[in-house]
């Protein structure tokens, strides 16, 4: 009995014990796969520093950073004002690191007679001004919007960069994969997903629309050069937040993410390395 109690105590203590050889990353489900790949590859080269990754959502990641349960919070959205206030109240200084970029692809069925789209048209569709394709192309079918839930990073980003309120009739799907499934069935749907989800033949039956802003050229979200030069309109940063005092500890991993190997892994996962 006594030894059992000691064992329990040991586990309790060891879970609190914050050593210098482990980096705990928590947060965004969008970024979790990429972070796992990076951590695994990193471990091959540096066995001294252990990187453990778990998902759970951007909100959970930032809350864990606040509670000291994580060293890095992955977040697919920028930190909210209310969250920043919580850190200030606890007097924890934090900083952010953008480790990759995500491009938002606008997707329709390949049966829809449209080849590119302007940011203005996108705005009018998403805010509910255009409810029928007839106001854009000669086709009399209602537009159904397929997007993400209101507090996902993707939704947040599209909303803020276009400065719109989403139409209340927009469908809110649980994840990128479901948006793709829905668009494959709905010939007059209009959806947005992370570009990584429409790579590698995942987009059979779908069309990824090149986007142009005002009088500029249209660029595809799959165009690596356009993204690298910042020409695609909808490219968003993927954040990692950390406590400033931990910087020295996590720096080797952040450096790895910026390295050539890191950039290759990022690209293979369907995201884009940062502009150099």
């Amino acid at each position: 009995m006594k030894s059992f109690l000691f064992l329990v105590l040991f586990f309790l203590l060891s879970s609190c014990y914050n050593d210098n050889h482990t980096i705990k990353i928590k947060g965004s489900d969008t970024e979790v796969n990429l972070a796992v790949l990076l951590a695994e590859r990193y471990h091959l080269e540096n066995t001294s520093l252990l990187v453990s990754v778990s998902g759970g959502g951007s909100g959970l990641g930032i809350a864990s950073l606040l509670n000291g349960n994580a060293d890095i919070a992955n977040s697919s959205r920028s930190i909210k004002y209310a969250e920043r206030a919580l850190f200030e109240r606890k007097k924890i200084a934090i900083d952010s690191f953008v480790f990759a970029q995500d491009a938002i692809a606008f997707v329709v069925s390949d049966k829809l007679p449209i080849d590119s789209i302007s940011t203005k048209t996108i705005t009018n569709i998403l805010n509910g001004n255009h409810q029928n394709w007839s106001s854009i192309i000669p086709l009399n079918q209602p537009i159904t919007i397929y997007g993400r839930q209101s507090n996902s990073g993707t939704h947040d980003y599209v909303k803020s960069i276009l400065g719109i309120q989403f139409s209340p009739h927009a469908m809110q799907m649980n994840g990128n994969a479901q948006i793709i499934e829905a668009l494959k069935v709905d010939n007059s749907g209009f959806g947005y997903v992370s570009a990584g989800y429409v790579l590698n033949g995942n987009a059979a039956g779908l069309k990824i629309l090149p986007v142009f802003h005002e009088d500029g050229n249209a660029f595809s979200p799959l165009d690596v050069d356009a993204i690298a030069s910042g020409h695609y309109f909808f490219q968003r940063p993927l954040y990692q937040y950390y406590r400033k005092k931990d910087y020295q500890k996590i720096k080797p991993f952040l450096d790895f993410e910026k390295s050539e190997t890191g950039a290759k892994i990022i690209q293979q996962s369907g995201y884009y390395p940062l502009n150099k």
């Binding site: 909100g59 809350a63 209602p142 507090n151 990073g153 809110q172």
Partner: protein, 292 residues
Amino acid sequence: MDASRREQIDRLNKFLFKSTGLLTITLLGGIFLMLFSNSVLFFLDVSPVDFFTGSQWDPDTKYSFLPLLVSTFLVAVGSMIIAVPLGIFTAAYLSELAPRKVQMILKPIIEMLAAIPSVAIGFLGIVLVGPGLASIFGIQNGLNALNGAILLAVMALPTIVTISEDAINAVPKSHREASLALGANQWETLFRVTIPAASPGLIAAVMLGLGRALGETMTVLMATGNAAAIPEGFLDSVRTITATIAIEMGEVPYQTTHYYALFAIAAFLFLITLVVNFTGEYFANRLRKFHS
């Protein structure tokens, strides 16, 4: 084994069972407390009037419970409209008409429906029921309340069939014999005597099925589209309370109004399910008293 040792073991067991029982109650109390303390924090930020009126759930600006409530009931009641006749007639067939052999095969199969994971049923909703509804009704997509209702009906069926069957079985044989002796045929006996006599049990079955439908998350999350506006009919996309919590909990900034709002709607769902389940239990108990 001497007596004092046996007494000791008895006392230990008593303590053990008492503590497990208390643990369950503590857990329920803890959940209850957490839901309600967080809800109180929400209502400090948002007035209850705005919460119960209004027409859109758009966190950070509009916290209206109404579309979620309407959606939840639309889907749950819709599923009952499908599942109740189906379930009660299946139960009647199983207990009154089916040959013993068919009964032996059919009953486990119906109970197996309950073993299908909800995410698998939700997936069927996306790839099978949704496109089917779209082509039947000539609409753009089948992610709507009707889709959710059909799937939930399938999920609630095992509950309804099992409890209804028990209720119909429990009707004393003398009722049926009396009816037949008075010259009623088998159908008249079933509809005029057996089913009315079993009605408290049938109501219990419906209530417990409804409780299941109200609390189901994954299936409705996947199959109903989750648009935040108040639905106008079964072919509109809906967004239930459960789906809203599941979809938003992951990304929500902690300890903000939005975070508390999710606890508040969870508390209301808890109350609704509690009432429905109590009603079900009440009728189930009445049935037990009636037949014993």
